[in-house]
């Protein structure tokens, strides 16, 4: 029983970082209707910027992380403003390909600069300390991830509920024409959404960096986050979070009881199963195309 609970807890901890990536993807999917393959790399570049700030320029952590988040915000805005917005009435495939192109450029830049070596992020919290909750153990880094994920979800919830710009974002996602007629600058709102999404992703990246830090570090979390978002329905923020936790928990249980070797592929089996039953994910209304 203890084993089982411990695995679930590990799954929830892993699911937290997937949830952050998934949240970023859903934000962008709702704004631009594109599955954002650059989500991982949008976090990767800021993470390496943070690494440079901490390592080469000796900036203290409490300064470096906010600077990184601001950088991530501008990176996200820039990608939308300079590249995605310039596409000539693209279809869904075209948009996917544009994000893949951006992803390759950012990945190339980072791996050109840093090579393929494994680096160590000088992070204030070590992944080897752990906290005991009853008979269960959770590493303090995982605990921080969990708390950060919950905190960001809360902030996003409040942001979309009470702030003017959050409501404007929701409005332009629901009906862009109507929102524009109401005086919302929908293009700017979309750009801001990209910025926020990049920040959310970067938090996940920063929390993953102490464990593994190399140019391909975001691929796995991105795919799992994407899978979680798809399970949740791609258009629902709580859905993405729940989907990511489902993926994280099932993955860990599968790794514990069935086979550790195939742990990382079980996520895709889960999504195929879920999608066969509910083609638009668990928490989204099924979208029927009108002719």
């Amino acid at each position: 029983m203890i084993d089982f609970l411990q695995m679930v807890l590990n799954g929830i901890a892993a699911g937290s970082s997937y949830a952050l990536v998934g949240l970023g993807m859903v934000l962008i999917y709702k704004a631009s209707e594109v599955p954002n393959f650059v989500q991982g790399e949008m976090a990767l570049l800021p993470v390496f910027v943070a690494f440079m700030l901490l390592e080469s320029y000796g900036v203290p952590p409490y300064m470096a992380f906010p600077i990184t988040l601001i950088f991530a915000f501008f990176l996200g805005c820039f990608l939308e403003f300079a590249i995605l917005r310039r596409a000539k009435d693209p279809n869904i495939l075209g948009l996917i390909i544009i994000t893949i192109g951006m992803e390759m450029i950012l990945l190339g830049l980072v791996s050109w600069k840093f090579g393929a070596d494994q680096r160590v992020m000088p992070f204030p919290i070590s992944e080897y300390d752990s906290i005991a909750i009853g008979n269960l153990f959770i590493s303090s880094l995982n605990m921080l991830t969990l708390v950060a994920a919950l905190f960001i979800m809360l902030v996003l919830f409040l942001f979309f509920r009470y702030s003017k710009i959050g409501v404007a974002m929701k409005a332009s996602q629901q009906n862009e024409t109507a929102a524009r007629l109401m005086g919302i600058k929908t293009k700017q709102v979309r750009m801001l959404t990209w910025g926020i999404s990049a920040m959310v992703g970067t938090v996940a990246g920063l929390l993953l960096a102490p464990v593994i830090m190399e140019p391909f570090m975001m691929w796995n979390p991105m795919m799992k986050g994407f899978a979680g978002a798809v399970v949740g329905g791609m258009t629902s923020l709580p859905g993405a979070v729940i989907g990511a936790y489902i993926i994280g928990v099932i993955e860990n249980l599968f790794g514990g009881y069935v086979s550790i070797e195939f742990k990382s592929v079980v996520a895709f089996a889960v999504i195929v199963l879920v999608l066969c039953v509910r083609p638009s994910g668990l928490f989204a209304r099924h979208y029927v195309k009108k002719v």
Binding site: Y29, V34, P35, I83, R86, A87, K88, P90, I92, L93, G94, I96, I97, I98, I100, G101, M102, E103, M104, I105, L106, L107, G108, L109, S111, W112, K113, F114, G115, A116, D117, P215, W219, M223, F226, A227, V230, M234, E261, F262, S264, V265, A267, F268, A269, I271, V272, L275, C276, P279, S280, G281, K289, V291
Partner: protein, 349 residues
């Protein structure tokens, strides 16, 4: 211009004498290549031919049927491993093994096509992506497939001939590529191809007109996977050694890039795209040896970037090409060709 006036004009293979001339010129060129070029260039052309085969299949799926696949490296891997294992374990002759491996890939394509019936857009992207990742993971765990260490391809023998050098492979690869290219082209002009196109353009309208979506969507996946499987089988022998890492997500993206850069939904476009990008891929692998540019990049890397990561410039180049094509010329090389042709035909207007 280029208006098709009747059915027979639409299905004819060569639309004019000029096209026949260039086709013959191309065939003559391909026939004399191994006698005039150095070995390295023949290797490059072999590499191109394999990518052309895969991208032709991918184009049938993405360009003609309008379904997305980010998992073609999976089919490619199934073809490669299938061919090698069928030869070494089941002792099948090469051509039969290649065909059977292609059919196995096609069965997997059919299976992947089943969930694809209900999925579209991002959902299909993640499902195919997951398939590609899963295949490499699973291959890395199976004993008979060499696990992570990989497999050596056996000697390639067809009847009395023993294929050994790049030049030998050339005579095997080019005919297969040409046959498959003609097959792909003819498929697009048959009932099947027109059904694919109608699904791409308007799915519901196609269904109303009596196009069986289940059949044609799974068929598109199976056909596309068959092409990828054949390409993979040949790749294993050109490379002589295969390991799971070769068939990563990057490779799937690479195939998609080739198809997009060439121009989706055309025949010559993806061929041109595959040739161009395979050549670029090989060139960029040792980018520092390129005259002038290499030296400049070396000094740039030393002062601002790192020398160890310089080969990763290829990601930047391919990403840049993708963005450039999508932003400025969504039809790819084929679109550029169409525009140039139109300009000259209507000149001076």
């Amino acid at each position: 211009m280029d208006m098709k006036r009747d059915y027979y004009e639409d299905i004819q293979l060569f639309s004019s004498g000029v096209v026949i001339f260039w086709f013959v010129a191309m065939m003559v060129f391909l026939a004399v290549v191994p006698f005039i070029f150095k070995n390295y260039y023949i290797y490059v052309i072999n590499f191109m031919a394999i990518n052309v085969i895969v991208v032709l299949g991918l184009n049938l799926l993405v360009g003609y049927t309008g379904l997305i696949s980010l998992g073609h490296a999976g089919f490619f891997a199934i073809g490669a491993y299938g061919t090698v294992v069928l030869i070494t374990q089941a002792h099948l002759p090469f051509l039969l093994a290649l065909l059977v491996a292609g059919l196995i890939a096609a069965i997997f394509g059919f299976l992947l096509g089943l969930p694809a019936l209900r999925l579209e857009g991002p959902y299909l992207a993640i499902a195919t992506l997951g398939f590609g990742v899963t295949v490499t993971q699973v291959i890395g765990k199976i004993k008979i497939l060499g696990e992570r260490q990989g497999l050596h391809a056996p000697d390639l023998i067809i009847g009395p001939w023993h294929f050994d050098t790049d030049k030998d492979f050339y005579f095997l690869l080019i005919p297969i590529a040409i046959i498959l290219a003609f097959a792909a082209r003819n498929i697009t002009k048959t009932k099947v191809g027109r059904a694919f196109i109608s699904i791409r353009d308007a799915e519901i309208a196609a269904e109303t007109m009596g196009v069986n979506l289940t059949f044609y969507k799974t068929l598109a996946f199976a056909l596309s996977a068959f092409y990828a499987g054949i390409g993979g089988g040949l790749y294993a022998f050109v490379l002589r050694f295969i390991e799971p890492e070769l068939f990563s997500l990057s490779l799937s993206i690479m195939f998609l890039t080739m198809a997009v850069v060439g121009g989706l939904g055309s025949m010559m476009g993806p061929i041109a795209g595959a040739c161009l990008l395979s050549w670029l891929d090989l060139q960029l692998r040792n980018i520092l040896d390129i005259p002038y540019l290499g030296e400049w990049l070396r000094s740039l890397s030393q002062s601002y970037f790192s020398l160890t990561g310089v080969s990763n410039i290829q990601y930047i180049v391919f990403g840049g090409i993708l963005l450039f094509i999508m932003l400025f010329e969504p039809l790819g090389i084929f679109g550029i060709w169409i525009r140039t042709k139109k300009y000259w035909k209507t000149w001076p207007f």
